[in-house]
């Protein structure tokens, strides 16, 4: 393997074939574990798979191309509604609804990026925030979007040959984990390709990149579009395991995804899984703490959001590039001495 970036060579990179084997083995391991644990854990496993995808979309966008989206939840919503609508009105098969989710939200992302993607941070941040605040309100305005109750969207029952004991949540987990692993593998290859290098160059110094012949605006729009498509896929899967309704895509969802990405270290794709695990664990911890305060409703509903926001601020203040980047830096300094 040719190493273009000397600094990065500290981290050993697997070849595509070896990475495929690693992903495959990990997937197999997940299936075995899913067979041994109870329903709640399986459901949480499915949530982790979905959240990993959502976080990966931010890592691609922020960690690689240096853009920010405060409204990733809006793209999740677009994906979920597109998938649900295609199932309701066209009776599409499930795999096709996932494809629709990717395409529609990518198209949506492209339009947005075309207008705002060329702008600097605050403009894009504000525009995406506006999207996340306003988009869920649309569901109440148009009857075909199903209002507060939302739309019906499901992956169907598990095939009968898996037996009676094969539960619905386990089926959801299989689908979510399978789709997430494939998407992550493709994304990994994309980030290691010419595109990934271009985005990294952009993030490091966009002027220098454009002098080297990188089309800055075009690359940023491409990154935004792919990120939106990925978020749309995550949204469809989220709709599958929960519901497709405005309440599933609140503004706090966007905050949560960003927090996961920042906690994971925005430059590391594998970190997205760590971020997702943390995000799924936080509500459990919050439950325990809220119990200490006598389970008052005010505390129970607001504590998870509080913990997530505090973690976000603390990480940005003290370890802005995430634990992975901080460790890499320490390693480098170690190597120098």
């Amino acid at each position: 393997m040719v190493c273009l970036d000397q600094r990065r060579c500290v981290v050993h990179k697997l070849s595509t074939k070896k990475a495929f084997i690693a992903y495959f083995a990990f997937g197999w391991l997940l299936l075995i574990v899913a067979d041994r644990v109870d329903e709640l854990r399986v459901y949480q496993g499915a949530t982790i798979a979905v959240t990993t995808l959502a976080i990966a979309s931010i890592i691609l966008l922020t960690g690689y191309s240096g853009q920010v989206s405060l409204g990733q939840g809006a793209f999740l919503a677009v994906g979920a509604y597109a998938a649900a609508l295609s199932q309701t009105y066209w009776q599409s098969p499930f795999w096709f609804t996932l494809l629709i989710a990717i395409l529609v939200s990518a198209a949506f992302g492209f339009i947005l990026a075309f207008a705002a993607g060329r702008m600097s941070g605050p403009y894009l941040a504000g525009t995406t925030l506006a999207l996340a605040v306003g988009l869920p309100t649309l569901a109440n305005q148009f009857s075909f979007l199903g209002g507060e109750t939302g739309l019906v969207y499901d992956a169907g029952l598990p095939p009968e040959r898996f037996g009676e004991e094969f539960t619905l949540y386990k089926w959801f987990f299989w689908i979510a984990a399978f789709v997430a692993l494939i998407a992550m593998f493709l994304l990994r290859n994309l980030l290691n390709s010419r595109f990934g290098r271009t985005w990294k160059a952009l993030r490091a110094n966009s002027t220098a990149a454009s002098l080297c012949g990188v089309n800055v605006a075009q690359s940023k729009i491409t990154a935004f579009t792919i990120s939106a498509g990925l978020a749309g896929l995550a949204g469809a899967l989220l709709g599958m395991i929960s519901i497709v309704a405005p309440s599933a895509f609140p503004l706090s969802l966007s905050f949560t995804i960003i927090t996961g990405a920042i906690l994971a270290g925005v430059t590391s794709l594998l970190g997205s899984m760590l971020g997702a695990v943390i995000l799924v664990v936080i509500p459990e911890i919050a439950d325990v703490i809220a119990h200490q305060f006598g389970d008052s409703e005010k505390i129970t509903t607001n504590l998870p959001g509080f913990i997530v926001s505090v973690l976000l601020i603390l990480t940005v203040l003290f370890s802005p590039n995430g634990p992975a980047e901080a460790m890499r830096k320490r390693k480098e300094q170690h190597a120098k001495h």
Binding site: Y123, L129, S309, P320
Partner: protein
Amino acid sequence: MRQLIGTLLIGLTLGSIYSLMALALVLVWRSTRVVNFAQAGQAIVTTYIAYEIVTRTGVFWLAVLFAVVAGALLGAGVEYFLMRTLFRHVDEGPVAALAPVIATLGLLGVIKSLVGMIWGNDFRSFYPPVSTDNFVLFGETIPFSRFNVLVILSTTVVMIIFSFIFQRTDLGLSLRAAAFQPEIARLAGIRVGPIRTIGWVFAGVAGAIAGVLITPNDVLSPASLDVLLVFGFVAAVIGGLESLPGAVLGGVVLGIGVSFVLNYVGTTLIFPTVFVVLLLALIFKPNGLLGSKKVRSA
């Protein structure tokens, strides 16, 4: 004709509140180069304080006074404790440019959940100091009340005070100089740090007044000012994000636009309209109606 005048008047009322929020965002942007998403959070705290005072004493003016003071203190506190720490710690790496935006977003989350823990997430409301009944003119009702007059009058007064401070006082001159060229301002003997804090104080005051003025016609909940934040941001972008008169103009333009959609199309299309206006402004007038000629970096 009657409907047209009514639409314009309502647009003016809405627009003046959006202008205040836009002013708050522009003031912070000019002083620190940060779009302060926590502005909605700061305003929600001051609005809840005003709510407590109105429900306990019934004196609206006292509530406004407390909200304004709280807004000023909160603005100063956020700048002093969060922003200064942030700029000390974060100087390099992929997140450095985005860190301030993400930090204000985190602060918005912290404030909203804290407010939820203290006051709960249920909707509250408080009564305006003057009647919201529509005026009757020549036997016809026009959708314009004493409260609307009060909103427009008080925002106008705030704007006059602000423009007096910015154009006619030494403090205003330092504020403008520190925003325009911090390095040169520092060489000219302006203490840029404290001046920045003062910018945040003015922003806090403007945001607090916006929150108190919009709530009597709306409900109060931890998330109720999110929409105002978005509309304020759009107004600020229309005006160019740099210019104070631009923010006011952007607010009024947006307010009248929203009011037209409300009266002639219906509530369904308010949000899509605002969003399309934002995108159009970004595509065709990226420097804003009154923005400087300096081209934004990509």
